[in-house]
Amino acid sequence: MRSFVFPEFSIIRDEERCGSCRGCERQCAFGVHTYDPVTDRLTSDEQKCAGCQRCAIFCPEKAIVVRPSPSFYRPNASWSREKIEDLKRQAETGGVLLTGCGSDKPFRIYWDHIVLNASQVTNPSIDPLREPMELRTFLGRKPDMLDIRAEDGDVEIRTEISPNLTVETPILFSAMSYGAISYNAFRSLATAACRSGTYFNTGEGGLPREMRDEFGRCAIVQVASGRFGIDAEYLNCAQAVEIKVGQGAKPGIGGHLPGEKVSLAVAETRMIPQGTDAISPAPHHDIYSIEDLSTLITALKEVTNYEKPISVKIAAVHNFAAIASGIVRAGADIIAIDGLRGGTGAAPKAIRDNVGIPTELAISSLDRRLREEGIRNQCSIIAAGGIRCSSDVVKAIALGADAVYIGSAALIAMGCTLCQKCYTGKCNWGICTQDPRLSGRLNVEIASTRLSNLISAWSHEIREMLGGMGINALESLRGNRDHLRGVGLYEWELDVLGIKGAGE
């Protein structure tokens, strides 16, 4: 059937600059550019363009401009171009619309309505270049109190301390599975995590055997509903185990790795036949109630001999604070909360853009709920979903998180331009693909350096902001809402965030 949908992008080639080097043809896995030997010119099929900008950036003559094409429909506030064209696509295919990355819809971004404090005169700011500025933090269960005996100068701690993760900076790499991303991208995250004193998360795809010895020490492994690649050795080689109950991009539904992306290596790691769809069912089929989750948490503690903290990752949805409280009581040491803007390799568009609540409101709500119940110290909170810069990190911690997970930000550091076509397996940047021709473009050394640079740059900015607030240790920022003010927010939003308005 003929498609009625316009191309999303316009490709403008400056013919004078273009030297017909055919670089763009080689770079584009979507097959947009084609060389015509008769005319010695490149032609472009705009219908196939994903707007990933690979050709534009790699064109040696800077001859290509790729930009969203203007809409040719009469302007309509309700029937936007996107709504019209999504509908037409569904009429053409009868299918569920798939997309990638995090939600791009204009929900209010609370990060941009929160401002930070700076100290002056009465409590001087601290100079981060010369004074110590401590970002180290511990993720896991803390005891209510310590039973300490001191005798003859010999101090003994009698309380058994639960296992905790030590992070040198409160920025961790979010769960992105090998299968959703390429081996090189996955390895880059692992390399950078180890180098920068933080952790990466294997996501649902398991940890390839050859990586366990070298990278296990900075790995958080995931047990998701599909239980891919999970055996006792995998669980024991990492530093923490995370039960994935949900994620912000697609709360309530399962993951779907199309058969195209289940290469031989992916199949081996996940233990399913090559070319099958790797389906993660919506719920864990052994978790239908909070006591079932408690059973799984305890089972994982048993299989790791109580040596690793157990994290539970949930999506931020309406009643999640009560659920999270139950999860802490069920034995979780860390709660990872993923908000509305969380990213993904593949999700139905309807779910990604409509289900869930913003991370900022979620962090604050959860932190307050756990404090009210007197159990805030029994777990650490890791916030995820739309963290874009170092000031977002500072605000997240001030609202109550212990640390943050970055997903989209890490991918952007490696080259991603958020074109939202991850599910096609044709990522020209070599990140979200299993095609060796494409993933080979991502050099592990260079990509991991980009990631480490990112962590280092943000860490330094965080130190600057902390110093400005008169704080020299991260633990003094956690939940410290006094250092935040809101600008342009409704009263209920200020209430939920627990902050005052600027000037108050």
Binding site: G95, R227, E233, I272, T276, A299, P348
Partner: protein, 269 residues
């Protein structure tokens, strides 16, 4: 027609003490204490353990992973609690009694034998090893069972199974013998199945299985596989009063996925 039998799955006299079998009395032990003891015994060299008076203790067999892959044989007398043999790595566990929910949860290798029935979610995400259940089991058995090349889990159930058997199955072999003679009246068998095979002794209707499932009569190659596992089943349960020939004489149905990609057409790209 199979002879119906009703067995009391209670405690029977344990294995004859035997060469160096350590013994644990679980009567007053909580789950964690019991598993602490089991692990200690394993690390101190015990290769056979008998646990008596088990009543609901969980995760038996889970805490026994070591990088050296030590192996133990464990006899459980009583009713095993939830998640028996969860994440099991190589050991052999025999239960003289019934088991509850979650037997063989994400089991990687080893063997589990239950002289009784099992509850729900049997063999969830099982990825290797073998499980033999003498009587029936509950809902959602073999959910998302997996296999890879030679590593292929096997689940044999002597009684019947209830709804959602083999949901999301990606690999492995499931054999349901239904020796109590009830026709399989489970529904939603194999919804989302995209790998592996289920053999049922008897007939099922098309309405009982998922859309992605093909129903066909077992062929010669299938009967060879069945012979192997039915023999093993009978070896493990001598109290079952049927012979291999009697069991294999019944018609067997084979359920396989119609496609590796049952949801390939669901999404618009």
């Amino acid at each position: 027609m199979a002879k119906a039998f009703v067995l009391e799955p209670g405690v029977r006299a344990g294995p004859s003490g035997g060469m160096g079998a350590a013994v644990i009395d679980a009567a007053s032990l909580e789950t964690r204490e019991l598993n602490d003891r089991l692990r200690e015994l394993m690390l101190s060299g015990a290769r056979r353990v008998q646990i008596s008076n088990v009543c609901g203790q969980r995760y038996i067999g889970t805490r026994l992973y070591t990088p050296e892959r030590l192996k133990m044989e464990i006899e459980v007398l009583g009713t095993a609690g939830n998640d028996l043999a969860a994440f099991l790595s190589g050991h052999k566990i025999t239960v003289h009694g019934n088991a509850q929910d979650g037997v063989g949860n994400t089991m990687d290798s080893g063997e589990v034998i239950v002289r009784g029935r099992a509850g729900d979610v049997l063999g969830f995400s099982m990825r290797g090893g073998e499980i033999y259940i003498r009587d029936g089991c509950g809902y959602r058995a073999a959910l998302h069972m997996k296999e890879y090349q030679e590593k292929r889990p096997v689940l044999v159930v002597g009684g019947g199974c209830q709804d959602f058997l083999g949901e999301y199955m990606a690999g492995g072999v499931v054999i349901v013998l239904d020796l109590e003679g009830e026709i399989h009246d489970a529904s939603f068998i194999g919804t989302g199945m995209h790998g592996g095979v289920i053999y049922l002794r008897g007939i099922v209707e098309g309405s009982q299985v998922g859309d992605q499932v093909d129903i066909s009569p077992a062929e010669e190659a299938d009967m060879e596989v069945l012979e192997v596992y039915v023999s093993r089943f009978l070896e493990r349960f001598p109290e079952v009063e049927m012979t291999k020939e009697e069991i294999l004489a019944s018609p067997f149905t084979r359920l396989t996925p119609r496609s590796k990609r049952p949801y390939g057409g669901l999404y618009a790209y």
